[in-house]
Amino acid sequence: MTATTTTPTQPGFGERLAAFGRILISPRGAVFLLLAILLVAITVLNPSFAEPDQLVRFIQRVAPIAIVAIGQYFVIVGGEFDLSMGSVVTAQVVIAGNLIGQDASLALPVTALMLAFGALVGLVNGLVVSFLRVPSFIVTLGMMLALLGGVLYWTGGAATGNPADEFRELGRGGIRDLPVIGILPWAVVILAVVLALAIWFSKRPFGRTIIALGDNPVTAAYSGTRTWWVKTSTFILSSLSATVAGILLVGYAGVHPSVGRGYEFTAITAVVLGGVVLGGGRGWVVAAVAGAFALEALFTLLNFAGVPSTYRDAVQGVIIILAVAYAATTFRARRKGRALEASPAGPEQAPEPGPDEAKETVADPASARPAHIPSTQRDDNDTKGGS
């Protein structure tokens, strides 16, 4: 852990600007380019979209999915998946609707309860993945079904009443009567805060450890990382971000068991679109957010283009496949050699320096692979497909 805390010497401002320019035209900037193209296309179809108040409204609409994408980014970059995010959103929306009701004084305690519930879901996901060694795909899929089943049991699958307007203000309201933009929705403010926190967090030693863990869990474990805690915290982060998104959606949309449906896949698509490598170890949180914006811009573009409802879903799917395929091919070229199938090292497997170490390493079939040592820059990364 101590090794990761040393930051490289900061380059000068001019160099950074030049580097940023290079990024935009390089494959890494593909998602930003895509976003720009989509926004221009929308504006061509509908010039009023470029007006400041419309743009702010657009950001407000994207805020929940962008926040979910931020949470998903940490899980994916740490080498796992969280499929339970959408159902966490749904569960939180239903909790808010049922527990707050028309009593605004309950808003704060219920919000605290929702955050605690979100953290608990993430904790359970993380602990099961870390200690029981169940693939996160299965754990979070199970969590998704459990939560959706709970919601079904509670509501019977139908909408209940909306909670008090005061609580919904976060998702619906904002700072009014501003010049130029008219209204600054709270959702936009919350997105900015969450994004700033995420950038700050990913620059911190702990945030870098997550990437190190996703890149190569064995080296991360050998360098002294408490892998179970790092992994678990990414799940807690994702569930908490789903909770924040749920709070915004209650305000924006209202209570319905269909709110949040499909968010886990939208978030994963956004993250992959942002060039984050499935399997972990590589990615940029800002690009993941840009991926969320690009996806939502795509949906908006289809609305504006008047694509008939009957094959709208198909059009969306095709474009997403093309975009993700493009992002994946451009990224593959830049990826370095890495472990073929690094099995996550649990806490009890934490390496003990000493004479026994060599024997243990041989005993463990997974770590017997020479490919674990990334010193040979073999271009074997294509075998780790899926991205």
Binding site: F49, P64, G157, A158, A159, Y252, H256, V259, T300, G306
Partner: protein
């Protein structure tokens, strides 16, 4: 998103070209394909004969006891049920499609209250219910279970879908015991009675005529539809679309899955494109989100048709918009059990029991709001349970039995 991916992977090859044409070129190019798709849909679901029948039934004065619409009938052709006449309390077996929307939940509560009355009267001993949770397969299994092991005296079936449920219903008929079908239909006339309100075309005609009256030619209507492929919903849109088309109203339709977030995005985008004068819904679920989208955008309220769900009626009153609440008579959930009682008493019942179905207009909305004052937002104003013993507490608590 899951569905998007599934649909996408199935249709990638066939639709790639259309897809790209639809979004990379200017809208003029995509317009013809849109029209083509709409025509195909209309051909598939529009049924002129049924349209005319339901159109006529809207103007028929229902026969039957005053103030009890769940026992009234329209153009009834009575059938003899003497062969089923029998003494004693009977066991009813109810294969329910689902209770996954507020309309079905309200009806389900009402049905259970009606059951209590009939149990006290000694007509029904018990009702065993299986909930298919919106699955055809589950409901077929449910019906077969009832046939083989249910020890049922009467089958009550609320089909999940029309074609898929037909063979199972026929198997139930083959037992020789009375079968009662209500809400969605099946493609067989073997049930003793098929209970339903006038239907989807009547809904479409009521709503479209209202919007056409209130709007000008060339005005724009956004149609929010729950999902494709369900006949009662498709018929609503098929009728409305035809009338909008004839009246020169520009109508665009979207599938929302009743997701309020989706509804809000759709309306926001439509408002960003240009003015929207009307909103048409094939079910009221999510109506509030649609109205809020106009508020958030600072646009004038649209002329709107929702449903008799309390959330819509309240929002309608609160905003003072020009509205109409079409009704898919929720009180029909009482009728099957009452029909069972009549059948065992040997009384004649209509072969096709068409119940009245009339929208709540602006003049009536205050009356229905007052009648249902303490009811939750998901409650339906024309639930027709005011004379049942649990009223109003059971519906106010809205605890799903």
């Amino acid at each position: 998103m899951r569905r998007r991916f599934t649909v996408a992977s199935a249709m990638v090859g066939a639709l790639a070209l259309i897809a790209l044409a639809g979004c990379t070129t200017d809208p003029n190019v995509s317009a013809p394909s849109e029209e083509a798709a709409e025509t195909e849909e209309a051909v598939e679901w529009f049924d002129q004969e049924l349209f005319d029948k339901q159109d006529a039934e809207r103007d028929v004065v229902p026969e039957g006891p005053e103030g009890q619409p769940w026992l009234q009938t329209i153009n009834a052709e009575l059938v003899d049920t003497a062969q089923y006449a029998s003494q004693g309390a009977k066991k009813a077996c109810f294969a329910n499609a689902s209770i996954s929307n507020p309309w079905r939940q309200t009806g389900w509560i009402t049905m259970n209250e009606q059951l209590k009355v009939l149990q006290e009267a000694g007509a029904i001993s018990e009702m065993e219910t299986r909930d298919a949770q919106d699955s055809d397969d589950t409901q077929i299994a449910d019906i077969d279970y009832f046939i083989n092991e249910g020890n049922c005296d009467v089958f009550i079936i609320s089909p999940n879908s029309t074609a898929a449920m037909t063979p199972a219903v026929e198997r139930a008929c083959d037992t020789g015991k009375p079968v009662i079908v209500f809400d969605r239909g099946v493609e067989t006339d073997c049930p003793v009675t098929f209970i339903h309100p006038i239907g989807g075309f009547a809904w479409g005609i009521d709503t479209a005529e209202f919007l056409i009256d209130e709007l000008e030619e060339g005005d724009k209507v956004v149609a929010l539809r729950i999902l494709p492929g369900v006949d009662v919903l498709e018929q609503r849109w098929a009728a409305a679309e035809k009338l909008f088309d004839e009246a020169g109203i520009e109508a665009v339709d979207y599938f929302t899955g009743a997701d309020p977030a989706e509804i809000k995005k759709i309306i926001s985008d439509e408002l960003a494109k240009g003015d929207v004068q009307g909103v048409w819904m094939d079910a009221g679920d999510g109506a509030v989100a649609a109205i809020e989208a106009f508020e958030d955008a600072g646009a004038d309220y649209p002329v709107m048709t929702g449903e008799d769900e309390m959330s819509f009626l309240r929002k309608w009153k609160e905003t003072g918009l020009t509205g109409l609440a079409p009704v898919y008579s929720n009180f029909q959930w009482r009728t099957p059990l009452l029909a069972a009682q009549m059948i065992f008493a040997g009384q004649q019942v209509p072969k096709e029991w068409v119940l009245p179905q009339s929208p709540i207009t602006a003049e009536e909305v205050d009356q229905y709001l007052a009648l249902n004052e303490g009811m939750p937002d998901g409650h339906y104003a024309k639930f027709g349970g005011e004379d049942l013993p649990g009223y109003p507490q059971v519906w106010e608590d809205r605890i799903i039995p």
